[in-house]
Symmetry: C3
Subunit: 364 residues, 3 copies
């Protein structure tokens, strides 16, 4: 589906952020991920569990059911499933058919996220999750406020498009932090690997944006370095750093202040997206100030991104699913990103076909 | 459509509950039945009328129109139809074309229900309506409160599934009457005829459920007999009876108390259902107590059934219309019920084809 | 689509009312016209502009963007377009690709309307807009209140059907102005041209309707002349005039009072319609009285028409898109109107095919 080719939705054999650690407890929740319902909860020892959110008996939502010890009990007829997905009880009969089980998804808790693997469990490899050092979550000087969540009624690729091209800041975010010198009107430098894309914007000797002037208490010219790195398929990490201007690229002056952002993008359904957001800064270690910045973002900035992508989702649906578009220089990351996603999905399709072939062969 | 085969929706040549008698008066109402709009009202002498709810001129809803004497006058251009469906007036012209008429549906008022026949009127046979004695509505010791109505956004077969398998009581109804010993964790005995299915649950020497203890004032062990009989296509009637325990099946002790329930299930559209509910009991003849029990059911119990079936309807639609499912021992009535529905519908299809054949033959 | 043949929606090579002049200013608005989004705004000199409402870059709605001088700046990445649709700025890059432009629609401001041409711009001919004298907007004795607007969730042809057959007044409008002698229970005389249909209703020696008696202060018998002329594809203009009765057609007595109405019908999407309404009268020149009459119509009369057409739209959609219907004598204008619309659309289809042929030929 747009902007990917027909039949392409999202990679499956990858880790996605399923939830903030703080969202999941002893009351199960339902969350849609890759167009499937998932039931998320914690065992008594605190370990998090992700099960297929649909009871195999009558399709009642397990995410709207209740826990009995470490197990989840379907809210309709009481079928009870262990964290591994096996059935431990059917109240109306003593024997439990083998087919009566749900899928249990690999789930890893790292930093404050729960990472889920919706694809082939044999391929689930924890080392594919970006490391904390890499993400500046450990060993860095950022004080971070986390836990921002929003369900956006737009396909995930529109949110990637949004983050691939930060030249939107001066326009879409004019009502919040993009005004007063905030515009990033410059073509970014883009680099990529097999499963990441890094986009860096450099502005030398520009006025400090009003928003950041208020945060840092510094007004005047700066060298501004800003960018985002997407760890496919769903985590954009990056920041803005402001230096006393040298006017020469790569020759940085004194750091005035730096902001870090984390955008988790996990497809909910084909037309909606789970959006996770956190932000950090070097200017203060006061958690209340950091929390206030996060609250401001969730109240004022992220809703602007949600507005744009939801409007575009509606335009796409009203115009038959595949709108014409013009690609600009600043869309380079966006084009490269689409190709990376496409390649990942194509590789999965090829793997599925060859696996089927192998199974047929084995059966001969 | 699920859980019936594709192309199967609901039998038509059968009586369905269209409304409670008390719902219909001198102000017409619109009610969708078997995916068709029906206009319901009463003549000046009190007789109830059911007409096609769509004006044949411009498709304006007759159920949102007004009465002129015994006739209904379309709210758009004033075309007026008699209770037999013939047109008595077209305000803008003197002559009335023969084709200008609406269908009038056979309608029978029995006890407090209006029964409608949406199929071939030549086949409408009042004796197919369950008798009052059969339904324990006359000659029984139940004091009944009636008139419960709810439009549920789920296909009718999901509500039949719900009533075919009462092992849901201890789980879905845990917040209302299913807790404190209320669970019916036992495989029922199922018997059937051409157009009925009877499901009986027997629990010997079990604790009196809290809910029924409050109703009867009796605590302690009981022999519990509970069940529902579906008179196809749409009325489930049954009850719970509690006896001083003998612990031996079919050897009943002293009756402590008994509750009777009536669930009318009439498809509205393919994805929504008219749900009619009444309840009776032997413990008191006080109508206020009976009404309070009905009110409690409509406020707390029926919404639980609506919640489950609506959630499942949504799961079905999101998963492409035909979810996988696992059938348990307690699903025997459900499986037999689907077969009976399927057989009834198949017989109607066969009848329709042979009728067309006869018409073609006559025309040769 | 119903009531036109499949594949027929609405003529494009015609002028439609896009907005009231008073609706458009220095804040752009989005309006859907013929299933396309249009951005409407005024330049600094007051001239009105209509641009394709979708940014060609990422499909963000230009009608929800902002103005920079005479140009519109996309609210997402700041691409800026001139009133002629050419792009004047892409903030992130200096050069502007030729393909980066939006369509600018011919727009004519006449009386208090903005008329838009959504079809082939080479064919846009201002003389096809009805003249003000013709519409009794200049050189007439009517005092007019304008500016009524409503978005109706029904296809435009249902609103034409409604206005083609005023015998609905005594029934649909019984709660507002159709009661107390207001019914127009008579077959109209219909005449037509290539792009207009005129429908006239004559009632001789009938009681003055209550509503008009209140407006004119005259009670008693009248000769009543009423009618509407549709200037295809979207403006119905007409009036009611009441004379001291002679009882002889075409021999008019003394004019008691006259009311003029203007109904602009512009398809928004395939299932919704922009409805513009104005009304005038000869009984008073007091603008407050005229405004009060318009307000009453927008509060009480037009909602009745919207109710009927929305109910019918829903009936059509629920019944598979093509309901059966019966055509009465009073439907003559409606039948002729459908044929005129069909003919116009067929001619456009033929023109499009011959144009493609000519282009292929030229390319050989």
């Amino acid at each position: 589906m747009y902007p990917l080719p027909e039949g392409y939705f999202a990679p499956r054999d990858r880790w996605y952020i399923a939830a903030w650690s703080s969202e999941i407890g002893r009351e199960p929740i339902e969350r849609w991920i890759l167009d499937e319902p998932v039931a998320l909860y914690r065992k008594e020892n605190g370990e998090a569990v992700a099960l297929d959110g649909r009871c195999p008996h009558r399709s009642f939502p397990l995410g709207k059911s209740r826990l009995v010890g470490d197990n989840i009990q379907c809210g309709y007829h009481g079928l009870t499933f262990r964290p591994d997905g096996s059935c431990t009880q059917i109240p109306s009969q003593p024997n439990i058919p083998n087919v009566c089980r749900v899928r249990s998804f690999p789930l890893v808790e790292q930093w404050k996220w729960l990472w889920i693997w919706m694809g082939d469990p044999d391929l689930a490899d924890e080392s594919m999750i970006p490391s904390l050092e890499e993400l500046a979550l450990e060993g860095s000087s950022y004080t971070i406020a986390s836990g921002g969540y929003s369900l956006v009624n737009a396909r995930a690729m529109l949110l990637h498009d949004n983050l691939f091209d930060l030249t939107h800041i001066g326009y879409l975010h004019a009502p919040s932090f993009g005004s007063g010198g905030g515009a990033l009107d410059t073509v970014p430098r883009v680099t990529q690997g097999d499963d990441w894309i890094d986009t860096q914007y450099v502005q030398l000797g520009v006025p400090m944006p009003d928003f950041h002037a208020r945060l840092t208490g510094y007004e005047g010219l700066v060298d501004r370095y800003q960018g985002l790195k997407l760890y496919l398929p769903g985590l954009h990490v990056g920041g803005s750093a402001f230096y006393r201007p040298t006017g020469i690229e790569n020759q940085k002056g004194e750091l005035i202040g730096s902001v870090q952002v984390y955008h988790g993008i996990t497809p909910a359904t084909r037309h909606s997206t789970n959006y996770f957001f956190a932000t950090g800064q070097t200017m203060t270690k006061d958690p209340a100030v950091c929390q206030a910045t996060l609250d401001y973002a969730m109240r004022s900035i992220i809703p602007e991104d949600a507005f744009a992508t939801q409007e575009i989702e509606e335009m796409i649906e009203r115009s038959g699913g595949r709108p014409s578009e013009i690609l600009l220089k600043a869309d380079r990351a966006c084009v490269m990103g689409r190709r990376l996603f496409e390649k990942m999905i194509a590789a999965e399709h090829a793997r599925a076909i060859s696996k089927e072939g192998a199974i047929s062969k084995a059966a001969e």
